[in-house]
Amino acid sequence: MSRQASQRVAFALISLAAALVIVAILFIAGTIAVQGMGALSWEFLTGVPGDGMKAGGIMPAIIGTLLLTLGTAVTAVPLGVGAAIYLSEYSQDSGFTRAIRIAIINLAGIPSVVYGLFGLGLFVLFMRFGTSILAGSLTLGIMTLPVIISTAEEALRAVPQSFRVVSTSLGATRWQTIRQVVLPQALPGILTGVILGLERAAGETAPILFTVAAFFLPRLPSSIFDQTMALPYHLFVISTQVPGMPIRIQYGTALVLLCFVLSMNVAATLVRSRFRRRRQW
């Protein structure tokens, strides 16, 4: 086979593979959108489940996922951004920082169901929080930590070193430099990372299985020590645990979850592109 012909074959195969990936993604998103659209209604979004979940809405699950996402943010953002500031601005390369980095890599790789076990062992049982929003948020927060640390650190490191040097030469202390120059410049990048991290947390099921999720709880939680329903777990329940579940409601729930998560994705993309246009370096 001539060189040109082999190039043509190779490129065709590669393009085919890429096309396959595109088709698969579009098929999944399209199926859920088309099938789920029919279930969407104001009652579905704002009502509580009724008739053994075979009718009614999914509002408690939506609110629950919102609360868990918020709880995850409260846990993970201060710690994650703080750790990123430490790694990027304060630490010098040493055995100590290398240990932190290995820990982060390790955290990033732990399977989500293992986080669930850990949350069960530490927060639910040992600390006696019970299956609660608190236990679930802490578990999801720790799981999200590595994503936030690594994206925030990357955003901080992208700020030109010269800004730091100039600020210091003008009589700024290290923290003043970070507060006034580095953080404002890194903020969009940090925000993007935070949103992407929370997006992942919002869609997770395994870590909340034993730490917070309620099978069926047609009222809103009243404190952080309450259980709550959550969209991913609810989808799991109605698609595997409830016989005779109307398929329409299943698709509707999947669509709401998908929209919830992808809207965060879109938000992250918007933040990123706005920032690219505005930045001055």
């Binding site: 030109p160 010269s162 800004f163 030469s169 009589g171 006034q180």
Partner: protein, 253 residues
Amino acid sequence: MSLEAKVQIKSLSIRYSDGTESLRDVSLDLYARQINVLFGPAGGGKSTLLRAINRLNDLVEVAERRGEILLDGKDIYAPDLDVVALRRRVGMVFARPVPLPMTIRQNLHYGPQLAGVRGTRLDELAEKGLRQAAIWDEVKDRLDEPASSLSGGQQQRLCLARTLTLEPEVILLDEPTSGLDPISTAKVESSLQQLKEAYTIVIVPHSVQQAARVADQAAFFLQGELIEYGPGAKLFTRPSDQRTEDYITGRFG
């Protein structure tokens, strides 16, 4: 006019932990109300010396420092010295203009604000700095535009003005005109001639020609060592060391 030694460098040696540019046993006086020129081929230790005088070297890992630097007779590496106050007394302009990512006005307010200056005094300092850097007329109507909207030459004079807002005693300039066109360069150089009436100016020039043009006092550095120093008029016409002569006549460099 008698010379007043503002900065005294005594047997200073600096080595970075990654083994790059270093200084070996440099002793040198920098004089008030003079343009002190540090020149020589790249890698000679000039920038290292500049950054030692306002302790910007603290930001990078210095493996070893021996000797001392005195500012008005006081050791700037003394343990109880306030580094931030030192940096306000010793201002610096860098090779590449680095406007902070803010408006022109915010750039000028940045240093004084950190020093606790408030209110109309901020704008007074800003205007004074801009006038001294000979850029007031060009930017006075656009102070609230982003500093990055200025041309390269304007940016560098803005950076000079920004340094001046802190009313420092010593101004360090590290190849301040290396990226500028001849007209901007001339403007900066003439600003320096005005400024030396009141300040101690220490400059690493970007060429031998510039060194010869601006030097009241000159020091020639080669590979981390101070080869010779003295009044510019003498050093550029009758250097006492062969290496200095070879360099200024363009035989290497």
